[in-house]
Symmetry: C2
Subunit: 215 residues, 2 copies
Amino acid sequence: MRAVIPYKNENAKSRLSPVLSKEEREEFVELMLEDVIKALNDAGMTTVDILTTSTEGIPKEFKGDLIVTEPGLNDSINEYLQNASEPVLIIMADLPLVTGDHIRKITSVSEDVVIVPGKGGGTNILFIRHPNEFTVKYHDCSFTSHCEITEDLDKSMHIFDSFLASTDIDEPHDIVELMLHGKGKAKEYAEKRFGSETGKGRVKISPLSKLSSFI
Amino acid sequence: MRAVIPYKNENAKSRLSPVLSKEEREEFVELMLEDVIKALNDAGMTTVDILTTSTEGIPKEFKGDLIVTEPGLNDSINEYLQNASEPVLIIMADLPLVTGDHIRKITSVSEDVVIVPGKGGGTNILFIRHPNEFTVKYHDCSFTSHCEITEDLDKSMHIFDSFLASTDIDEPHDIVELMLHGKGKAKEYAEKRFGSETGKGRVKISPLSKLSSFI
């Protein structure tokens, strides 16, 4: 069993640009990646690859393989899967609420394919028992695509239901979930930069240094 | 064991007003309530009360007690809890993704208090074994409040981790989750009114009758 983390550092997470500068976002995604690697290691998963287009922003302590590919998320993951001879867990790098316990549970599911949906139709984690028979299709409501691909292959499927694992940090309001429910380095980083505004509706993040809110 | 659903129909869900009219929102919240009642019944929970300020918008088939109170969510729930002599499940009416299986699991937890967080610091479901010792505090990041109240009472606590149960339908982008992951009447309603727009980011809802998107 091995894990692969698709990763982009340079100018990453443009949807967070209203609240974090380019440099801050690059620092932040590296910390989220560290949290994800820690979760994998906590679950005893030691074979971890990072699939990236550049060697920038890789944590110094990272001990796995760094696979540098051409841009194109689907092509590079599909090539990776074709060459895999053991079960593969594909996990996104922006999941700082995932814990070792989630990873253990996901990899213990007996079905052929486990899908952890992301917010808004994404796919946060995919666990594939027979990876060289599978093809991924990220973007454009990938959750639905991956369900359909699994069904077309006549494979059994489990949708893993977890608020924490389904919370990808992509938009400013997601940072609230990290501050409320996180435990790792990315949460620490967010807490240094943001306060919160409460009221009758959902909590919103606010800048620590100004009185006015920015979202 | 009994369940109580705080409910407001008249001019409900104002944050959905960019995409649904007042009349549509009132119809929609009634359907969400029906889905929640179905989940409770599917779990074998037959003692279900609705706590409301008006008798408007109650499903015809509802067989439980309708408790009409003064406005003030916290006061009315706390009065309810004070008079309860058996475990109480407080469940919000805007959780159409909750299933009977969730309810069964939540009420099987052995801890004194089970909290299902909502998006943005809310509390979607609270299961309290000794309700007359407990006080709720909704609004202003109620998830944190309910964790603190439980700790102050020296009660044991379990945070229930479920994407589906944590998805309250409060803002337009939540409707995407309902359309993707729902199964009940509220999902059917949303599918009649909305299409979806896909791309590299999260899926967004769009009006079925117009070419332009509204969020």
